[in-house]
């Protein structure tokens, strides 16, 4: 079972990398970009009997720092390999 965890900085938290990429996109001439936020995506290959509560615990205990980050857990498609 492939599960994807998406981790993003909380909305109030300044994202310096996102801001720099935003400026770079503007520098390339792309108009209409209102904001850029950079996060990370973690793919877990889990045994079928791993409980959703355990995946959430993995996020809270290690994968995300909930002081500054939110996380979202979703089923991922099998990778192309």
């Amino acid at each position: 079972m492939k599960t994807r965890v998406t981790i993003m900085l909380k909305s109030g938290v300044l994202d310096p990398q996102g801001r720099a990429v935003h400026h770079a996109l503007e520098g390339l001439g792309f108009a209409g970009v209102r904001d850029v936020r950079i996060g990370k995506s973690i793919e877990l290959d889990l045994a079928d009997d791993v409980a959703p509560a355990d995946i959430e615990a993995m996020c809270r205990q290690l994968l995300a720092n909930t002081v500054i980050e939110n996380f979202r857990i979703e089923a991922a498609e099998a990778s192309a390999t």
């Binding site: 300044l14 310096p16 990398q17 720092n65 002081v67 500054i68």
Partner: protein, 221 residues
């Protein structure tokens, strides 16, 4: 004072901390590898050094905070043993929830490596007992993730409880309320981004970091 320095794979200020402690304390600290789950029973100070523990994988300090030795550090802190986290050590202590908040990427994104002017904001604990309140000192920083962040309520509490120990005197990395160092509620765990171990003898260009170690030695004998 009985002191140890924790060493993670990727630590690179562990020897500097050990030299500073030996200089000031008269005896070298024990070096404790990250995989060890036991600390000496008789212990006054645990120093968590700067560097790039575990290559900064996932987040700075995140992996180190979950290593076996950190469970022992947390238990020791709970017993009242003093814990000092410098730079990456500060990041490790926040990731381990021994200190509140988080250290994010510097606001201007650049790695900052230079002497910074600081104010000693609190002299309440042994960490800064040898400084004067409000004293201006200069200690170098060298970090990419030193932007101290916490919610407003936490920041208010830190200030209200006199737990902000060091502040930047000039904009350095975007830290909330110019926070460069804090202590926990009991005052026995301190984290700071500047490197006091790099200012303990005149050959370093100044000795403004030395009194931090002297204050601890004085407290523990």
């Amino acid at each position: 004072m009985k002191a140890v320095v924790i060493v993670f794979p990727g630590s690179n200020c562990d020897r500097d901390l050990a030299v500073a402690l030996r200089e000031v304390n008269g005896q070298p600290p024990a070096m404790i590898w990250h995989g060890d789950s036991d600390l000496p029973k008789e212990l006054d100070l645990i120093a968590v050094p700067g560097g790039f523990s575990y290559g900064d994988y996932l987040r700075s300090g995140a992996m180190a905070a979950r290593s076996p030795v950190m469970r022992a550090v947390a238990a020791a802190a709970e017993r009242g043993v003093f814990v000092l986290g410098v730079c990456n050590g500060f990041q490790v202590l926040t990731e381990a929830a021994l200190l509140p908040g988080a250290l994010m990427r510097n606001r201007e994104i650049r790695f900052v490596c230079r002497d910074v002017p600081l104010t000693v904001a609190s002299t309440r604990t042994a960490f800064t007992a040898r400084y004067d309140a409000g004293e201006a000192i200069t200690i170098p920083v060298a970090h990419h993730d030193g932007n101290y962040t916490a919610d407003e309520e936490t920041l208010d509490r830190l200030e209200g409880e006199d737990r902000v120990v060091l502040r930047y005197r000039a904009e350095t990395n975007g830290s909330a309320r110019a926070i460069a160092g804090i202590v926990n509620d009991r005052g026995n765990v301190m984290g700071l981004m500047p490197h006091p171990e790099r200012r303990v003898e005149l050959a370093h260009g100044g000795v403004d970091g030395r009194r931090l170690f002297e204050g601890l030695v004085e407290a523990f004998g």
